[in-house]
Symmetry: C2
Subunit: 384 residues, 2 copies
Amino acid sequence: MLNFSYHNPTRVHFGKGQIARVAEEIPADARVLITYGGGSIKKNGTLDQVLEALNEHTVLEFGGIEPNPTYETLMQAVELARKEKIDFLLAVGGGSVIDGTKFIAAAIPFEGDPWTILSERAKVKSAVPAGNVLTLPATGSESNAGAVITKKATLDKLAFGHPLLYPQFAVLDPETTYSLPENQSANGVVDAFVHVIEQYLTCRENSHVQDRYAEGLLLTLIEEGPKVLTQPQDYDVRSTIMWTANQALNGLIGQGVPHDWATHMIGHELTALYGLDHGQTLAIVLPSLMAVMKEQKKAKLLQYAERIWNITAGSEDERIELAISKTREFFEQMGIKTRLSDYGIGEEGVAKIVDQLKRHNMVKLGEGRDITPEVSEEILTRSL
Amino acid sequence: MLNFSYHNPTRVHFGKGQIARVAEEIPADARVLITYGGGSIKKNGTLDQVLEALNEHTVLEFGGIEPNPTYETLMQAVELARKEKIDFLLAVGGGSVIDGTKFIAAAIPFEGDPWTILSERAKVKSAVPAGNVLTLPATGSESNAGAVITKKATLDKLAFGHPLLYPQFAVLDPETTYSLPENQSANGVVDAFVHVIEQYLTCRENSHVQDRYAEGLLLTLIEEGPKVLTQPQDYDVRSTIMWTANQALNGLIGQGVPHDWATHMIGHELTALYGLDHGQTLAIVLPSLMAVMKEQKKAKLLQYAERIWNITAGSEDERIELAISKTREFFEQMGIKTRLSDYGIGEEGVAKIVDQLKRHNMVKLGEGRDITPEVSEEILTRSL
């Protein structure tokens, strides 16, 4: 196991009726800005529950944060928050709203252009405290310290993180997810699946607990994930998926092991250039990446084949190929297409994406830092 | 899944060389009391590493905390700490030292007799901040908020806990465990195993992630545990066991599920009356408890049989019986005897233990609150 230091200070309130907890989590004299997205939280009653809980707090609202939240929109919230002397942020929504709110939290006290936090890795020195009410299990953003932000003007989609950005609390009420559109539920399952894979399917390390945890999350997603499509109002199914997605990226399973994240980095460029959903980009890239990197990942791919898909017969190559097929089938079963051509992207797109990767200095990706632009090109070509 | 709120604020520093971190974790102007047990940390160099790291801090020492730490000894530390105006506690040792230090932390500012924190569940209102350097993986005390203390005068062994008692940090350096005596290493593996079982082998709840995590820890202990006896200086083995024992009782796998803890409660009486090691008491009680409670635990026992021991053939009863035998064999393989008679305790002992349980109001144990003194008697009789 590699050395690590782990500290996750976010308090998680999980279950029915837990939204009421926001009242005790936010100081009574705070000036609260509630941030949200396109308004689904108004339709499904979540915003009403939040406002009811905070009926003795001073509350302002900022809506309209996009999927793949943009710097341009978030800076409007920063301006509002500065003007209104906001001292607590409450994100109500999915990963995009929570990611965006982390940027707002860091940007409010930031001196200079906050975009440099992403573009130049400028140091975050303070942040406005924040909490969240999660309505879309997928990114794990509700209890980690990372975020991904897009600059519309330049099509840059970049990640950042800082320990100051751990939410103080996260409310996970599975009932808020009953009304999610099918594709969002499905994207969430695929996203969580790939988060686990990025921390699991690497070079072999002595990491028995991390491996078993990761495998437990993968098996749970495979067994329970498809049910979100057929039983969207089943509390047990929704609660399982909500907790699984949280665990997939709260940092725990990634302690002491190498990380990959190449699928995410390549996927981000696909979203920035072509507007694909994050989950779609992962479903396109991962199977091809597994195939291209199969020598480097051989030991773990064989373990994955056996423990996740019960594949024990055949040559090593056959077992690995079958495990990759099963992975692709699982994404397709979730209703997510896994080929660039399914989204109308052809060979010319591959070159464009590789150019973007170079521009963002994503030239040594993966746990071995050996996914060069040439390897990314091979991965994308295989995904056509 | 049951509703839950989870917050574990302890920062974990894991790996070789991490002991140096105590210097940055403890305020420079703190008056630190280092607490420890019988002196093995002096022999194996751990105390030297700690003192070296704290060479610019003001440090006092308090040694002699026993296995099953006693109120009587701990109150001497409380007296010293009060006199010396100690404002930070650093436990260096195993679960007994860390548990004892939690009591010291709560007792220092407590008004009245601190024993009432255990005997009358008197409210803990403040605690001196504390951290620890773990040297015996077993109890998980290094990153949870619970402790078990014994009053020598009355042979009471009682548990307590409070969120204020979460250690601020825990250093887990597997190299500190190389020199552990075999029986302590073995007890630690059994203790961690039973911690998982207490939170897993209950009535069935919708808890896919928790089940998979628990099963992952059990499989890891079964596969890697025996190696601590044959490869005591293997870093990979020691680090796996150290991380597994931590995860077994840091609270995570127990969120949203029913808990049992009857094996522990009965076991505590065995230790208090007869001085058996904690791990020994668990190895004696658990197999019999599984047998006596097999109707109530049937669904989970069958899952345990299949997923942990690969038992899929035979009637339900046969599968359960075989899983119980396998459990007993595992404890024996670790060198821990599983019968009361192995420790010279006969039928008269059963009555004594049941009397103690009644005296401590341990009359409705288990996840179903249905382990009455009569059922405890049946369990103990089966353990003869």
